[in-house]
């Protein structure tokens, strides 16, 4: 049974340039998560409601600099959008430097989101590496708001160093709630760290889930996702029930510019969330 694509747009907005023209938005608050990572809370200038599905992304414009695809990390009250951004280029650098009150452009939401509906009554494995926790956080919010609909829920999270762990106070709250099993690890420890050191695949061994009734959602650097997915298959989770959020260069986000293609998939339109069943043969091909 194939997972249906979850879109948020009307088909064929013909003479409406809406999808290529940004709407004005404003930064409401800014939080510094890590040395090169900031979380922005953004609201539409016209005060309109915001709509999205976990796993989708917006195209954020810094006027005079450029535009970048940023995953939506949450939307409290349906009036603001949360984006966690890592400084890796000119546009993301400018985004992480925006202050409350600054204006930016916003187009979206775009893309196919996480198949949360297919996870109902299943155990859920959320495996995040580095910044990959950002697009998965909205899944955790949804699950916590509808906790009875899901089985055993586990978050396996690997960060580079202790100071790179995102959303630390939230993670602590999730742990305390006892509603989500949280396992953390870092690649490189400092003298103060007394938690696990190793890679995130090693956390799978201890995770409690029934492989035949589990849906896994994975996000992080591509090498990490490849090895996590492979390890999950080894633990007998069906590749049809393992989902990865892929990333490639994005310009238009509407399937017209050609940049985000990964094999036959336009990641802006057929992804970024795709099943491992579909991705496995493509991930093997070098420089695809």
């Amino acid at each position: 049974m194939s997972v249906t694509a979850i879109h948020n747009r009307k088909p064929n907005d013909t003479l409406d340039m809406r999808q290529t023209v940004p709407k004005l938005a404003r930064v409401r608050s800014r939080f510094s998560d890590a040395p090169d990572v900031s979380t922005l809370e953004v609201e539409m200038a016209d005060g309109g409601p915001v709509d999205y599905r976990p796993g989708q992304f917006n195209m954020l414009t810094v006027f005079g600099v450029g535009e970048a695809a940023i995953s939506i990390s949450g939307a409290p009250n349906g009036a603001r959008l949360i984006h966690t951004i890592r400084d890796v280029g000119a546009v993301s650098h400018a985004l992480t430097r925006l202050k409350p009150g600054d204006q930016l452009g916003l187009r979206g939401p775009f893309g196919v989101g996480w198949p949360i509906h297919s996870a109902q009554n299943k155990d859920v494995l959320i495996v995040a590496g580095g910044l990959g926790l950002a697009p998965l956080r909205s899944v955790l919010y949804h699950i916590l708001a509808h906790r009875v609909q899901f089985g055993v829920v586990s978050l396996l999270y690997g960060a580079r160093r202790p100071e790179d762990i995102l959303y630390q106070s939230e993670i602590a709250r999730w742990r305390e709630s006892l509603e989500i099993n949280v396992a953390l690890t870092v690649d490189h420890a400092d003298a103060k760290w007394s938690g696990r050191v190793g890679v995130v695949t090693q956390l799978i061994e201890q995770a409690a889930f029934q492989p035949q009734n589990t849906l896994a959602m994975v996000c992080g650097p591509e090498v990490m996702m490849r090895f996590v997915a492979s390890a999950l298959v080894e633990r007998e989770i069906d590749p049809e029930n393992i989902f990865l959020s892929m990333e490639r260069n994005m310009k238009c986000a509407i399937g017209h510019c050609g940049h985000c293609q990964f094999g036959p998939n336009f990641l802006c339109r057929d992804g970024p969330v795709l099943s491992y069943q579909k991705l496995r043969p493509l991930l093997k091909v070098k420089e695809l």
Binding site: D187, H188, P221, E222, V223, R226, F227, S230, V233, E234, R248, R280, L283, K284, K286, E287
Partner: protein, 154 residues
Amino acid sequence: MAAEQASMLSQHAFFKGLAPEVIDLVSSCAQDIEFSAGQYICHEDDQADQFYVLLQGHVALQIASPGRGARTFLTVGAGEVFGVNWLVAPYRWTYDAKALDDTKAVVLNAACLRRKCEADHDLGFELMKRVMPILIERLHVCRIQLLDLYLKQN
């Protein structure tokens, strides 16, 4: 011919000290193989059906990521071996291997080796005794690499 491979294997560091009958057993799973510079020997996630015993040349073990391309984490040369994933289910390569120059090797069929090891536990233990030190050494090397000792401290 198995006899040729047996001769090659008995001279290789990995099989040093193995009784001739044992080498004969192993060489019936063996074949000569050559790779030219730049040729891929295996790809990550492919079925790991081979164990390579290198006679000549150099092989880079790599992991590829988008944007950074293929990155070599280890190189192996004549007198060394690579490809131990045939020992551990689900028998899949966890890296790419690429010949850096013209390479000659003896390739052992993994299913054949596994069968022989199951049938003859002494053979199995002899092979394990030889594979373990190599892996432990590589793990140790990997840890030192991870510590990034040359990184400037602030």
